[in-house]
Symmetry: C2
């Protein structure tokens, strides 16, 4: 062992002990006759002291040669510090070094290894092993470990069994694009990496395992949006003989446990909201309910005058911005520009200032009188001093636009506090959603989700109206988990595949094993999957998942540290019977 103690544990009570420490040189201060070295490891920082009088000459000289990030071993006695540092746990003591060994020298790192670094994202990713030495990244990884341990303990105590499902599975065109893996032993055939262990966990239920979970990597070959990774981690769960309520209870329990153990926050019961209500009140199926600013639908009080824009709109809808009446004309113009950005896509914005004296001043005073505006204020819940922002247009578009505005304003107003936690179940999701590109219905959750009892007949006439026992767990405006009660009989599953545009042959070829399984005694079952990367980030009070992943990939799916992906040998291609086309 290179050390008797780590760099975070020595205290007053250790004074006069002889110790051996090992770690990295965080920094040195050389006063000529005296040298201090901050020695760092994962556990903390301990100050080493060398002085001309008490330190052997060759040790003193060696101390002079130390550079940042050198790896050293130091032996010496724990002594009381002359000037204590109350900011660190070891601040009462220092080590009077009698022996020092340089275990490894270090080149000057390409960025400073400090909590606040001068390194940009790119350089930090290239030298991720140095970035990990920094406390914020190191602490995030340790935090992630704590969360996964708590998840495992909780679920294991509830009789869940963690079962590993295979990574080399079968490609299916439904859903996102698969990563594929050519098989050498089965010529011209490919495995696929799982987008989730969905069918396997259902087969485990058919297999009687009753309560399954797995913390598991999943893969999607999608064009990456910001903060998406081609490989990501799920807490994947499934239960047999349950209804939706059972799943909500169990996994509300898990989330409550995490909030308590990890964040010290106690939350009694998680509120629930239907998908339809979430869309109406927040324009969004994952509303952040840490703050209000609920939508007020204004069709009834804004379509009775000559304002053509509103009259022709499917939906007129507004929100009240607390204190927004004081915004200058310039500030409001900038807000209008913001909603007109292509990423948001509104054509314009109507606003109403709710003056402190109870009067209103709007951008549409030509069309609406004080009573009209007073009704708008009532509907949006605006008080004196607020600003009402109103958008109009096609319902689903205008909701998305106003939702974006709501989130942006909340961010600016400091309403999205990262030490506040507001979980929410969103339930009663539609079974299907219309895809404008392919002009057909897709499964909103996935093709294994069961329609609500009694609604299956609606599929033939009003497919868009069919609801599912599908639910999302939302935390602070992020979907952290989602699941559903599954289909567990062959006929319904075949019907679903039919509605989703599978021919019977395609359904059989891709999911025949699952439909076969349903014929041998499949229990009712359902489950949920949490996105671990995001869950951990949000519990950690942050929104960027990349800082909670040890070795993330960039937006082109590259690992810039190891420089992957890369070309492979011709021999490897030959063995796989593959050729590059160009």
């Amino acid at each position: 062992m290179y050390r008797s103690h780590n760099c975070g544990e020595l205290r007053n009570s250790d004074i006069n002990s002889d110790v051996t420490l090992a770690g990295w040189v965080q920094k040195t201060r050389d006063k000529g006759f005296m040298i201090w070295v901050d020695l760092r490891d994962r556990y903390g920082i301990t100050q080493l002291i060398f002085d001309e009088e008490r330190t052997p000459t060759e040790v003193f000289e060696k101390a002079k040669s130390l550079g940042r990030e050198f790896v050293i071993q130091a032996k010496g006695a724990v002594i009381e510090r002359a000037s204590k540092n109350d900011n660190i746990p070891t601040g009462a003591i220092e080590i009077l070094v009698t022996e020092i060994t340089i275990l490894n020298e270090a080149q000057l790192p390409p960025f400073t290894i400090e909590n606040e670094t001068d390194g940009g994202e790119d350089i930090r990713m290239k030298y991720r092993y140095l970035d990990i030495r920094r406390n914020p990244v190191k602490d995030n990884l340790i935090f992630r470990h704590k969360v996964t341990m708590e998840v495992r303990k909780y679920l294991s105590n509830q009789s869940f069994v963690e079962i590993e499902t295979p990574y080399l599975i079968k490609s299916t065109p439904e859903g996102a694009r698969d990563f594929v893996v050519p098989s050498r032993m089965n010529e011209n055939q490919f495995y696929a990496l799982p987008q989730s262990p969905q069918t396997f966990k259902q087969l485990l239920m058919v297999g009687g395992m009753d309560k399954y979970f797995q913390i598991v990597k999943c893969f999607r070959d999608e064009d990456l949006r910001a903060d998406r990774q081609p490989e990501f981690t799920q807490i994947d769960c499934e239960m047999a003989f349950v209804e939706q309520e059972d799943i909500l209870q169990i996994f509300e329990g898990l989330t409550r446990h995490l909030l308590k153990e990890i964040n010290g926050v106690e939350i009694d019961n998680f509120p629930r909201m239907t998908y339809d209500d979430a869309m109406r009140k927040y324009g969004n199926d994952k509303p952040d309910i840490r703050f209000g600013m609920e939508f007020g639908e204004l069709n009834d009080v804004a379509k009775h005058k000559d304002f053509k824009v509103f009259n022709e709109a499917e939906l007129v809808v507004g929100i009240a911005v607390p204190g927004g009446a004081s915004y200058t004309r310039k500030e409001i113009d900038k807000l209008i520009d913001w909603v007109k950005r292509p990423q948001v896509g509104a054509l314009g914005m109507v606003y109403v200032k709710c003056n402190e004296d109870g009067t209103y001043k709007s951008s549409v005073d030509k069309f609406y009188d004080q009573e009209d505006l007073s009704n708008w204020a009532k509907t949006t819940g605006a008080n004196a001093g607020d600003l009402i922002c109103v958008l109009s247009g096609v319902t689903h578009k205008v909701r998305a636009q106003l939702s974006a505005l709501r989130m942006e304003l909340a961010e600016r107003l400091g309403l999205r506090k990262n030490n506040e936690f507001a979980p929410l179940w969103v339930i009663d999701f539609p079974l299907l959603e219309w895809d404008e590109e392919t002009e057909r219905y897709h499964a909103m959750h996935h093709p294994f989700t069961s329609p609500k009892p009694g609604q299956i007949e609606l599929l033939a006439t009003h497919p868009g109206d069919v609801k599912a026992n599908a639910y999302d767990l939302v935390l602070n405006g992020n979907e952290i988990g989602g699941g559903s009660i599954r289909i567990h009989d062959k006929e319904t599953q075949a019907l679903m595949f039919d509605y989703l545009g599978f021919s019977p042959e395609e359904a059989k070829e891709q999911f025949g094993f699952l439909m076969d399984a349903f014929q041998y005694g499949a229990p009712p079952h359902g489950g949920i999957a949490f996105g671990l990367d995001r869950l951990v980030a949000i519990l950690g009070g942050q929104e960027t998942i990349r800082d909670f992943i040890a070795f993330p990939k960039n937006n082109s799916g590259r690992d810039v540290m190891i420089d992957a992906p890369s070309a492979i040998d011709q021999q490897q291609l030959d063995e796989l019977n593959l050729a590059l086309k160009s």
Copy 2:
């Protein structure tokens, strides 16, 4: 919830309670006026009773219609059983059913869902979801979960942090063959699936994480031998600022913990043996030391006579088979045939019967007298009543042959008891091993293993003699873990790559990131990886890993249940810019 209790928990104390159970029909016994149904779930079996007098008619009729593996829900009262069944925990009670719901019917399963099944390997794999319903498979999966939970608890309590490393990494030609994953976003480039997280865990040590572990899937595209899987699970571990002794202590502690918690077996200190001793005494670097039968090297006492076969052999070596003197001539001939099989490859076998009267009778009495044979008996530790089996030839071949014979005989003699556990550290492995096919040295462990201090100079003159701080943990004749102290400076690593036949360019292209990392302050470090599949199988008293994997692949790397790998769409190939060559 479909049930108030599971099928394993009702006892005498529950009598008169009204309960709801759900599960599978294990079997029904229909006496005409009375029907018993064994209802099964993951937790056990509970007997349901229906009788003409007490059961409502329509419920009674429904009970008559139940087939094996039907999924049902049953409500009723817990009553005392007339004839108790002491073999199951619920054997004191039964449920007088008042209401029954068939949740799903079942076709007759293709094999019986019993502890002993009539299903062959192939059919069980195709319907693995039914196989999992059988207690032996179900219990193995739950057992695996328990082992991994204990591993995680133990390591986490020792300040290890579980950190996920990426699955989409870079292909390197060294070692076994990689599975590759074509990248769509990076044309003509490929990821590789990790054979192990080796370089990443070393980078985590450079990153100061200090103690890392991960239970992680690894992938090798090898021609599969029996009981090998293309994807397998490792308990992967690494520590900084440690020497070999520290690693042995920590992971001996982990293994001791598992043996105690999982098997109730307490073992104080694990014996240690050098690789050279293991090869000399057992002909094998993973000796099963649950039994003796150590090798006796006979060169000194067998090469002094006119027996040409021995005189020309590099090594003459024997083992004593307890009680083997009683073998008939026919039995011994069969043993000789066994060692001559191509899988073993011996040219012949000399034997000596150690008679109860202290005399010897050998197959080479023409050449050796009683004193010679008495010396052989002394050297092999043979007692009266034993049989000495002697092989001769080239050292490394004859050792392997005699090792195979030793294991076979121990198996036949019942010396390999699956409830006995004999761990062993094998240490001081050679750094390199000669590969006859490629006619060069390969890294025995991997290219990141450090030569023993002071031996690096030997590389130039006697590469085969260089030893490494590399170690294997052996349990009952199986390697369950292996690791080493790593190289942590760029120069030594470059030298190693040079000896292993990498050009400086190749080394830089494939492992440049690691050698770069070593320049920025890499601590001394080392680690170990356990093969989880095998570890779990051995702790479970079995040797076949397949029964401890939920969805294993067959010897062609196929998942016969989902029928993977399979062909993929032309569109998928096009997007990946790939063509099949034939």
